[in-house]
């Protein structure tokens, strides 16, 4: 895994003359698991899409390895929200995971098998995607992201609409990836008491409201933190 962080400098974004993000700066260090929390409409998904280079900011820039992210988009992988996927599409888990390597030339079945094993879906590889539970589907999405040789993983609401045991399992997986050196930024609109599982928490509401360790965030925004289900069982 690499050592170069992902850096966002004074990012701004607007759609239809409505400002969605304003002056957002952050640096993601390698091997860290960071939570990006905020209410619906706080700009989390927009920020993730900007960080991945899929959207262009109206102001500021995103640097990966010191160069604009558009030049190294394969190093930053975005796992989309589950609502973006057509789960009824006729496809097996194995073929779905293979899609993560659709542009890679050095990809082999070992990469896919390793990703499936990592998320615990080896036994279900031949099953249709819509035959999986919500938690298993999220793990299939994560496996698809893992087959891409990236340095930064951006996960958009991975814990939404899945049961508590699946959330705990997913969080454990993310923790293992971070411990192995992967850089992860995980968005959620839930605040939850499981923020302790993260190395760092960024609170977003169009701009960065708070940024620090879970303890620092709890100390600073204690009264505003409601018990929720941020990847917590």
């Amino acid at each position: 895994m690499g050592s170069a962080p992902l850096v966002a400098e004074s990012l701004s974004a607007a759609f239809d003359n409505r400002v969605v993000l304003q002056d957002v700066s952050l640096t993601l260090q390698p091997g860290t698991l960071t939570a990006l929390v905020g209410a619906n409409g706080a700009g989390k998904s927009t920020l993730l899409h900007l960080l991945q280079g899929q959207l262009s900011p109206t102001g500021g820039q995103v640097l990966c390895d010191g160069v604009p992210v558009q030049m190294c988009r394969d190093q930053v992988v975005l796992m989309p929200q589950r609502g973006r996927i057509d789960w009824s599409f006729p496809i097996t888990v194995r073929e779905f995971v293979d899609l993560g390597s659709v542009r890679s030339r050095s990809y082999g079945c070992c990469d896919r098998d390793a990703a499936l094993q990592r998320v615990g879906l080896t036994a279900l590889a031949g099953r249709r995607l819509d035959a999986l539970s919500g938690g298993q589907q999220q793990r299939a999405l994560l496996a698809r992201a893992l087959v891409q040789p990236s340095r930064v993983l951006l996960l958009d609401e991975p814990c939404a609409a899945i049961d508590p045991p699946s959330r705990a399992q997913l969080l454990q997986l993310m923790r293992q990836l971070a411990d192995a050196g992967q850089t992860l930024l995980v968005s959620s609109h839930d605040w939850g008491s499981a923020l302790d599982q993260y190395d760092r928490v960024i609170v977003l509401d169009g701009r960065v409201l708070a940024d620090g360790s879970p303890d620092q965030i709890r100390h600073r925004l204690g009264d505003q933190l409601d018990p929720g289900a941020h990847c917590h069982d």
Binding site: Q54, D86, F89, I91
Partner: protein
């Protein structure tokens, strides 16, 4: 035309269209783009009329016109998050109306009924050649872009994020869809072709494990539908095109009737 050609060409045409349309339809149904295909099928008319007026092959005019209708609808849809279907249907009606108007305006001798509903019994080798060209185009698309099309169907945003040329893929698919629809026009017409694009896809879609398998099963189903429609048309002395349309609907209704009984 020999006596064998009189029944062999229409039969071959029915079978080929019966395979090609459902294969194309599998892509459209799984990508939820059936409405776009319906638009293309109606939008071919003005192009056919203009091509005939200028002495060109009507298929070329039809393909270009269908593609133009699709692009226009796409352009007008931008910024219309709530009314996208309304835009498509309006463009569909506009192109159909334009096609109908051009026939008298350009003083053309065109069999409008034949264009709308097809006439399988008068097709010739040139019609068959058009279907083969469209089949070759579809085969080439699938051979070179299969995985990308799967990605586009299951996760369009993810496909875009992965850096796939989504726009070019959609354009290529729209072009091939236009070719398939225009080539099937002689057999089932631009109105009835939508039945053959969709109906054979649906019965087995929930059971198959890949897009490839869905295409194979829908092609087999389409082949059966076309053969039944054609073989029933001869003894009943009815036009095969509309009969194939009715068989398509029956294909969807039969399992429900069985369930109700």
């Amino acid at each position: 035309m020999t006596e064998i050609d009189l029944w062999l060409v229409p039969l071959l045409m029915a079978l080929l269209v019966g395979v090609l349309c459902p294969v194309t339809g599998t892509l459209l149904v799984t990508q939820r783009r059936v409405l776009q295909a319906n638009l293309i099928s109606h939008a071919v008319l003005p192009g056919v009329a203009v091509a005939v007026a200028f002495g060109l092959d009507p298929a070329i005019g039809g393909v270009l016109s269908g593609l133009l209708g699709s692009l226009l609808a796409e352009r007008l849809q931008r910024g219309q998050s709530a009314g996208q279907e309304a835009v498509i249907n309006t463009v569909l009606a506009g192109f159909l109306g334009l096609g109908v108007l051009l026939i008298p305006l350009l003083n053309l001798r065109l069999d409008l009924e034949g264009l709308l509903f097809g006439d399988l019994l008068i097709v010739d080798w040139s019609d068959l050649t058009r279907v083969l060209v469209a089949a070759a185009a579809m085969g080439l698309l699938l051979l070179t872009r299969y995985r990308q099309l799967v990605f586009l169907g299951v996760d369009p945003e993810g496909a875009q994020a992965s850096g796939l040329p989504v726009r070019s893929l959609q354009l290529m698919q729209a072009l091939v869809t236009s070719m398939v629809i225009v080539s099937a026009m002689a057999a089932v017409g631009v109105i009835l072709v939508i039945g053959l694009l969709c109906a054979p896809v649906l019965p087995g879609l929930r059971r198959v494990g890949s897009l490839r398998a869905a295409m194979v099963q829908s092609a087999c189903m389409g082949l059966a539908v076309s053969a039944i429609g054609f073989l029933l048309a001869v003894p009943l002395n009815l036009p095969p095109g509309p009969l194939i349309g009715v068989v398509c609907m029956a294909l969807l209704c039969l399992p429900r009737l069985k369930f109700a009984m």
